[in-house]
Symmetry: C2
């Protein structure tokens, strides 16, 4: 009998997650019935949404998340041994699944010239988020100025590069000087600033003297109020994440300067979204992003932590902003 390892939600998140929130345990995998598949994790994804959503699950539940896995035993001809798949199996080393007809298990048959891990990053959920969340909500026009927070994160660096493809001027905010350098030198951002060390308002006035047209917001909080204050008439804000408040109780939200007065006279539009909204158009995003990557128009970076045991640490460090690009754990 095959044994698997998994991390369970041992203690409810309160404030910043720490190692006590997770417990590693072994479990027995069931024997393969007809139609079932056994797979082994190769890459496990650690994402900010896990901090936001895990509180909705009872203590003792397996931690949620997506992984890339290799089929090691199969009684389903659609998933032959050695095939590579992407599935929402959570933080566990081995999984037995029976296909349920949904689209939650994706064979990576067309990932020939790109790393499989990209299915967790630029060609997975973060890629779909950047593509639709920016293009559909901001509807950028050539020559417009776009600002992005958490610009060197899994989604932000893609939004900036898509904005460059759409002929916009791109300004990114991130939390470290080496990230700024990567954004400008590799990703082609026009400007990137360390929000921890710059005067945000003055920086915006200098870098965007004609105002901001689109803002892709990953953080919420004070910096968002400042950015919105510099927006032009009919500006668009795509609200993708609020990492500044993920460690806070939803019933005791941190306060920030009210944004309503800033958006009235300028006819500004804000829209929050979850990427599932565009699930039916997912392949359109993946296909286009794959093309841009192959053409060299989009550069990408992954921060890869080694070892199943280090998933919680990789998650904790990602929330602290230690990653450049997508944080992933290689098993």
């Amino acid at each position: 009998m095959v044994k698997g390892k998994r991390f369970i939600y041992a203690k409810a998140f309160e404030g910043e997650p720490n190692l006590d929130n997770f417990k590693l345990e072994e479990f027995n995998l069931p024997r393969l019935e007809n139609g079932a598949v056994l797979c082994e994790a190769i890459f496990v994804s650690v994402d900010p949404y896990i901090r936001a959503f895990m509180n909705q699950y009872p203590i003792g539940t397996k931690i949620i998340g997506t992984q890339i896995a290799k089929v090691i035993d199969s009684r389903n001809p659609k998933y032959p041994v050695s095939s590579i798949i992407c599935g929402d199996f959570g933080w566990q080393s081995h999984t037995v699944f029976v296909e349920n007809g949904g689209n939650d298990i994706i064979p990576l048959t067309n990932f020939k010239s790109v790393p499989h891990s990209y299915a967790l990053s630029c060609l997975g959920m973060p890629g779909v988020t950047a593509y639709f969340g920016f293009l559909e909500i901001c509807r950028p026009q050539p020559g417009e100025t776009v600002v992005i927070t958490t610009a060197a994160g899994a989604v932000g660096c893609l939004v900036g590069q898509i904005a460059k493809i759409k002929q916009c001027k791109v300004i990114g905010f991130t939390g470290a000087d080496d990230k700024c350098e990567w954004l400008v030198k590799e990703c082609g951002f026009d400007y990137a600033f360390n929000y921890k060390t710059c005067d945000i308002l003055q920086t915006l006035k200098n870098a965007a003297p004609n105002g901001i047209d689109c803002y892709f917001d990953n953080v919420g909080g004070e910096i968002s109020s400042l950015i919105i204050s510099q927006m032009n008439e009919f500006g668009r804000v795509s609200i993708c994440g609020t990492i500044s408040s993920y460690n806070t109780d939803l019933n005791d939200m941190p306060k920030a300067p009210a944004i309503q007065p800033l958006i009235i006279h300028k006819n500004i539009k804000l829209e929050g979204f979850a990427c599932f909204r565009w699930n039916h158009r997912r392949s359109e995003a993946i296909k286009t992003m794959m093309k841009w990557i192959k053409e060299g128009k989009i550069k990408y970076k992954e921060t890869i932590t080694q070892g199943f045991e280090n998933i919680p640490t990789a998650f904790i460090e990602m929330l602290k902003g230690k990653n450049i690009g997508k944080a992933i754990v290689k098993i």
Copy 2:
């Protein structure tokens, strides 16, 4: 020579306006050149936007605002003596104008069966604001639940009645019990609550057990964060005013619980607007509202203060919420 009276901006607004902010003065009107018109104010409008915008003008400027006036001398055949017009002449008793080809002076030739003052209220800027700000931004569907703040104000009471015409369930918040009674008994709101005396969150949970689809926001601040927290997937927020912060320095905005976390997972859209956006479609709104008023589908109320000298007092009391419906001064 005819003398006029006007109020000038004597002292910059700081916090709540008071009588010291205004100074009454006399001035000489010029002789009528060819093409010029002399008119005398009949009704002067006092509006919240004056608090928000006047700070942009230098001390000594005439207070801005719209009025209904009667032509008393004319050297322009388009505006014969005794005709009634609506113009942005500010807080002054007499005005000489030469038409400049713009559409800022509107003859009220089709106001036969409705009071002329309606051109400052339900058939003027507040009416256009309610009509487009609600219908274009919220795009209400039959059966949806609509919440309105400052519901008994010049705009709010119209939004609620338009929402009823569109077969929505309507919940209003206002600051006095007699206003609640008027909203439910006369204006046909399903519910109206005094925000000063009710538990807003519990009230919303009871009155809108299936959640809120549209929110017409006149106030901003804490109550807006609470209302947005109760919104449904794909909810729409039309941000019309932020009266809760008009008495505050724009560079030192009051803080409210951040709304970004509330709007992400529910795909909520917020949009601020100034009614000028729809200037080219103004007649569409006026025509439709006029029809609804004549059919008895829209009821309206004006709080009329008597006497030119009392314009500042009417303005101050309006900002304190003493009016029901539109605050207007009869000269």
